[in-house]
């Protein structure tokens, strides 16, 4: 008899609840903010834009470059390029480094002291140096965002290897596996859940650092859109920039989640 894999379906309640809470937040927000020109007990429109106004502005900004000099898609595209380049660079450097620090004593000895000193410095503290080194172009922003994404990649990959089940390592050793074979066939797969955790945290860090990095004399990007909205006193532009950041972040994190589900089929619950 062949064994069948039965897929458990989420109950209707669990599928509906997130949409319900989101709709409730939007409705309450819409109700609690006064429309433009109305002065009542509610939050004045100059302090917070209503979601409906933000939606209208979002549709308008798909084609209109005013008042901040670019359409919404151009802002989003610039931010995506900056943050995704920095995010990928963080993964490419941070994860292999963290994995190797976890297993090879020499790599740990070489990099750990430098990492421990560099880790507490907030990425935004590097902004002046980044301007000296890279000017005010995209490279400087990528550098700042990259620094923000590196820390979780290194720490999680390192801890992932460190928490490898010792019995798995012993099992491989009794078969005569080399250190490198144990690293690649036991430690790395065993660290994957922590590494995917790092991807999510690094992504969050990259988006957070993006706004700070776009303070580097940008003229495009979602972070710039927010600062442009602030400088001309338009809360709808500020909120539109914030929501665009949120939606883009959710889309990327969903992509990571799906890749994780495929790769970690045996480990995830």
């Amino acid at each position: 008899m062949a064994y069948q894999t039965v897929k458990a379906r989420k109950s209707l309640k669990l599928r509906v609840l997130p949409w319900l809470s989101l709709t409730a937040v939007i409705l309450i927000w819409q109700f609690c903010v006064s429309p433009p020109g109305v002065n009542d007990w509610r939050i004045p429109g100059v302090l917070l834009a209503r979601p409906y106004d933000v939606l209208l502005l979002g549709i308008e900004k798909l084609t209109d470059v005013n008042p901040d000099g670019a359409t919404l898609l151009v802002h989003a595209w610039v931010s995506l390029q900056e943050s995704l380049s920095a995010f990928l660079l963080s993964l490419l450097v941070g994860i292999p480094l963290g994995l190797m620090m976890g297993w090879f004593g020499v790599v740990r000895g070489l990099f750990r002291p430098v990492f421990e000193m560099w880790r507490p410095i907030p990425p935004v503290a590097w902004i002046p140096l980044a301007i000296f080194w890279f000017g005010i172009g995209m490279e400087g922003k990528i550098f700042i965002i990259w620094l923000g994404g590196m820390t979780p990649c290194i720490i999680n990959a390192y801890m992932g290897v460190k928490t490898t089940n010792p019995v798995h390592i012993q099992m491989a050793r009794t078969f005569g596996a080399s250190d490198w074979k144990i690293f690649t066939s036991i430690c790395i797969p065993s660290a994957l859940p922590m590494v995917f955790g790092a991807l999510q945290i690094a992504l969050g860090n990259c988006w957070t650092t993006l706004v700070a990095a776009e303070l580097l004399a940008s003229d495009q990007g979602l972070g710039y859109l927010i600062t442009a909205g602030r400088s001309i006193g338009r809360t709808d532009i500020v909120v539109l920039g914030m929501i665009s950041l949120g939606i883009t972040g959710v889309i990327i994190s969903q992509i990571i989640y799906r890749i994780e589900a495929k790769l970690l089929a045996g480990i995830r619950r």
């Binding site: 064994y3 894999t5 019995v167 798995h168 050793r173 009794t174 078969f175 005569g176 045996g266 480990i267």
Partner: protein, 251 residues
Amino acid sequence: MEQSAASNAKIEVRNLTKKFGDLLVLDRINFNIKKGELVAIVGPTGCGKTTFLNCMSKLTDTTDGDIFIDGVPADPVKHNLAFVFQEPTALPWRTVAQNVVYGMEVKGVPEKERAERLEYILNLVGLKDTADLYPNQVSASMMQRIAVARAFAVNPDLLLMDEPYGQLDVKLRFYLEDELVKLWQTLNSTVLFITHNIEEAVYVAERILVLTPKPTKVRAEVIVDLPRPRNFLDPRFVEIRRQVTELIRWW
């Protein structure tokens, strides 16, 4: 190449000694195992059975003495050693089949031979239907069968088993003991089986080595020359079990 004193034994253990600081755990243990023999080791709790097996598998360095396989000092890289642990060791990110193949991968068995051996062993241990499932989708007994199949699949020079069925209930243990005997007979492997369960030792082994409390030595050797399949109620079975119990009892 170092040559040991004895000659026709597959495995020779010579003066195996292990100390942790001043604590002498294993005290000059000597014995031989013939090719294709299934030897059980029993001893009182805390006598150092697992330390002994770790030394045998070279997971732990010995303080003195050595283990020879075909006259050559045992080396996990040169020899086919395999170890079945008490704890589940199936790798959760690999399917059942990928787990069984792991030892062969490490040993560099050619791909074609690997596939043939895999199919043969999966059929032999009844894991064929679950080959594509992940360990978290199979039962505890299947997890242990994965480990046993993985160990037998490398055609080991010496298979070490550390109370492999200690965490399973009685019914499953009987079933898996029968399966172990079948595998051992079919594949003619050399097996060293550690257990604290005297009945299990008498049921599976051809010879039982009884260890003393620490510092551990081999107290006695009991030959189990009963026909197979063995019957727990056979008066000779009961007599051997009583004899082994007398040898290890400390109360």
